[in-house]
């Protein structure tokens, strides 16, 4: 399924922060987790994740440290900071408002519109 680019961009920050809230991780594992969470229906452009991670780092929401992978390569790990958790909570509230509103809209769409007589 193709998901609109803007929607992917808007949900990327809370997704990444939410995944990191579960424990520190690194780029590829984050992408894999997003795939799992969405049942493979959300495909990110993998390269775009890194500028996003760097922005979150600059804003102080995540902290990065270089470690080593099992294969012995250098790997950058990211961990969420207290500021990142605050932002995550904030985003969660915003999204639940949006989701609630959307849910009601979907219900209204399914019902046939009520015709009010005398106003036509």
């Amino acid at each position: 399924m193709h998901i609109d680019k803007d929607l992917v961009a808007a949900s990327a920050t809370p997704l990444v922060l939410g995944i990191l809230a579960d424990g520190e991780s690194y780029g590829y594992a984050i992408v894999k987790r997003v795939n799992e969470l969405s049942g493979g229906r959300m495909q990110w452009t993998d390269g775009m994740l890194y500028p996003l991670l760097h922005r979150l780092e600059r804003l102080g929401y995540v902290e990065a440290s270089w470690g080593t992978s099992e294969a012995g390569r250098r790997r950058k790990h990211y961990a969420i900071t207290p500021a990142g958790r605050e932002t995550l909570a904030d985003r969660q509230q915003q999204w639940s408002v949006v989701a609630d509103a959307l849910k009601q809209v979907w219900q209204d769409v399914q019902r046939p519109p009520v015709v009010v007589e005398g106003w036509a």
């Binding site: 690194y26 780029g27 590829y28 992408v31 894999k32 495909q43 452009t45 993998d46 390269g47 775009m48 890194y50 500028p51 996003l52 760097h54 922005r55 780092e57 600059r58 804003l59 102080g60 990065a64 992978s69 294969a71 012995g72 390569r73 250098r74 790997r75 950058k76």
Partner: protein, 448 residues
Amino acid sequence: MSTNPELEAQIDQWRGYVQRRRAISASDVEEMEDHLREQVTDLTGTGLDDDEAFLVSVKRMGNLDEVSREFAREHSDRLWKQLVLVPEPSDGGARSWRELGVVLALALGAGAAVKLGVELFADEMVVVRNIGLLVLPFLAGYFAWKRKLTWRVGAALLVPFAVLAVVLNVYPFDPDGSTLFLAASHSLVALWALVSVVYAGGRWRSDARRMDYVRFTGELAIYFVLIALGGGVLIGLTLGTLGLVGVDFEPVLESWILPFCVPGALIVAAWLVEAKQNVVENIAPVLTRVFTPLTIVMLLVFLGVFATTGGLLHVDRELLILMDAVLVLVLCLLLYSISARDSLAPPGLFDVLQLVLVVAALAVDAVTLSAMLTRIAEFGFSANKVAALGLNLVLLVHLAWSAWLTVGFLRGARPFAPIERWQTRYLPAYAVWALIVVVIFPPVFAFA
């Protein structure tokens, strides 16, 4: 880890492509390569062969142009090194010729404005006082053209420009008074702030654009000095040669070459900084690395001398002005290293050195400031003293808060970004102070 030489060769080639994007740094490439390799490993695990796995992985990584643009957007300090993110379209050549034409016309215009000023006003001081008003509109004009500035922003900028012009020329200054000199020198700072709005294409609130303007200012100074040195050599050779054959070159030099070439050089230097940013891109930060330790030594010598001579016996305003110069120097060292610093890098030795530098400067300044305040209490205020004192305080606040933020950064309490933000957010304070000195000082001190 894969040991397939063919796959290794392909990954090498891919790395080469990515490394060519200047918005993507070496450590970013490393990070992405790790990603790519893991993706390949996972895909070969599901039954794809190496070739297929590599192709799919590269495809998933996304269009390199777009990824690189995204990196550049996030790291605008890297963007600075790479004016064009995507290769110029084929009409690039025609555009650069047109740009050269515009630049030369503006450079000539700036020279003509100065020359006209010299011809129209018998009093040299009038020209000197108005030099910024004569030259800087042409520099602003170049950026207005380059950034396609909207008419509204341009018109809004004309108002403060007109105010400065009126104040400098209508106020009944005492020709030998110090308020005239203060107003003229501070008007340059105010005008430079106006140019910054044009430079930012009207987006003067953006922290990133302000930092770009700081970089631009530093590089412009370096280019201008280089051009001036080259020009000086040429003028010296011409003077010497023509002198030998008995032709007096000096009148031509004074009345034509200098009025045209000096303002023209400023415009050309600005164009060079814009167009050829990567030629000397690293000069300002390298200079700060060299001069930060040296300046610390200088400041420590000051402190030592103050301590051993038992305080300051003959403080007067020259000392205060000197101290302002020291603080400006320290501020420049701080600003240029911050502007070139990777804001994600962890605290290092150089950050400690910088903190030592700022603290030493504050200590030296505190000694002179306390001495100066007792002097002022004794002998009263003058325009010069208040201007020097005010600038000192503006600088003091800037440096003290930078030092405080740096301490937090070194202790790991906060990231680097607030330090950067503080520098750019505080810059308007200088413009406001300059404006106060230009507009309010003269009437307060009776134009003396």
